[in-house]
């Protein structure tokens, strides 16, 4: 598969990105309930890895929201926090759009890269769910937080949750995309100085599928 060289590559990328966002968004909407359940189950297991006895539970409230529950608290105040699980992973839409939009890439390579990027994003999402709960435990439960978490832990969980929840979550798709496709972009923007109508070999480092 020959890659379009030069500025046309970037314009095709922009066009493809805008076109791919709709189907990727629809697919993300369809899998969101299942992915939310997966994140809550796995996030709960991750929380229980670092606590003894097991007192944390992530309880699904509805299609989008969940509670963080402490089973060692009195039932009336055991639901210590509510958060929108869907907000944890909406960056998957941009990630899918960016990875599917790259022009002149064999489908096999495109799907391999997308698969790896989604896998990294799933680990990131799990970490974010973990930090959501630990942030509440360390900083939001008043005297109980101060008694059970030291100043370093409170700051670490606070800063970690802040960085993961906004800046890192929002920039992750683009950072991953640059990691996988920067060579293709640079190959298109800075063609080798051989002249003529040669196509940059950097745009297709692997043979077509």
């Amino acid at each position: 598969m020959a890659s379009p060289a030069g500025p046309r590559w970037s314009l095709l990328l922009v066009r493809n990105l805008l076109l791919w966002l709709v189907p990727v968004g629809l697919l993300w909407t369809a899998v969101t309930p299942a992915y939310n359940r997966f994140l809550l189950g796995s996030g709960q297991n991750l929380l229980r890895l670092v606590e003894s006895p097991n007192v944390s539970a992530l309880v699904r409230k509805d299609r989008h929201f969940a509670y963080v529950q402490r089973l060692d608290f009195a039932p009336a105040r055991s639901l210590v926090h509510s958060f929108r699980v869907t907000d944890v992973h909406f960056h998957l839409v941009l990630l899918g759009g960016l990875f599917m939009a790259v022009p002149g890439i064999p489908w096999r390579r495109r799907l391999e890269n997308l698969g790896l990027a989604v896998l990294i994003t799933i680990f990131f999402d799990l970490l974010l769910v973990f930090f959501q709960a630990k942030f509440v435990y360390a900083t939001q439960l008043g005297d109980w937080s101060v008694k059970n978490y030291g100043p370093f832990a409170r700051n670490a969980y606070g800063l970690g949750k802040h960085l993961l929840d906004l800046p890192f979550k929002l920039s992750l798709p683009f950072v991953l995309w640059t990691g996988f496709y920067l060579r293709d972009l640079f190959g298109a923007l800075f063609p080798p100085p051989t002249g003529g109508a040669t196509t940059s070999t950097k745009t297709s480092p692997r043979p077509s599928a």
Binding site: H91, V93, H162, L166, P167, L185, L189
Partner: protein
């Protein structure tokens, strides 16, 4: 038959295509390292309380003021108080994540890390940041109107749709900037 003495193979020449990983990808690796360092530095900087209180909060209040003026112009009769915009039917508090700062930082890090002239970078940053803030202004106004007229879809619109659009704007602007202004023109031979 006389045996021909085999000469030891000479090492391949270190050309850009056959050199080390660093030699083959110096431009890409430099971009990635700079981009991630600038991104992490920028995000850490805006996490500091002093920066948040003295830079981000006043900037966000400015966004609220401008958005309030636009909402007034379209007949929403709003009042502003710090980062809060309200009328009789709805109120929003503009917080971090809704002020376009993250998209601006992603764009800024990508522009500064890209191999381009300083003139291109400064022009790109000026126009790009202005464009991102215009998109963000549309977001705040649209979200307020969504809250007034379609409150049921406010949550999804607030995060999923508009945050994606603002980050997408930053990414698209960078690609277009790199393509149109920063990269050297391909000369036909």
């Amino acid at each position: 038959m006389a045996a021909k003495k085999a000469s030891p193979p000479s090492p391949p020449a270190e050309t850009p295509e056959t050199g080390s990983l660093w030699q083959r990808n110096r431009r890409e690796i430099t971009f990635l390292v700079l981009f991630i360092a600038l991104l992490a530095g920028g995000f850490t900087l805006i996490s500091l309380n002093w920066v948040n209180d003295h830079v981000i909060e006043p900037f966000t209040a400015g966004i609220a003021q401008v958005s309030g003026v636009v909402l007034d112009l379209i007949g929403q009769d709003v009042t502003m108080e710090g980062t809060m915009i309200r009328n009789k039917r709805f109120a929003v508090n503009i917080k971090n994540g809704c002020n376009g700062v993250e998209a601006m930082l992603i764009f800024l890090a990508a522009v500064l890390a890209f191999p381009a002239s300083w003139k291109s970078r400064v022009a790109g940053l000026g126009l790009g940041i202005l464009a991102i803030q215009l998109v963000n202004l549309v977001r705040v106004v649209a979200l307020f109107l969504t809250g007034v007229y379609f409150p049921r879809v406010f949550d999804a619109s607030h995060t999923v749709i508009w945050q994606t659009i603002v980050i997408l704007a930053g990414v698209l602007l960078w690609i277009l900037w790199a393509n149109r202004f920063a990269a050297p023109r391909q000369t036909a031979t």
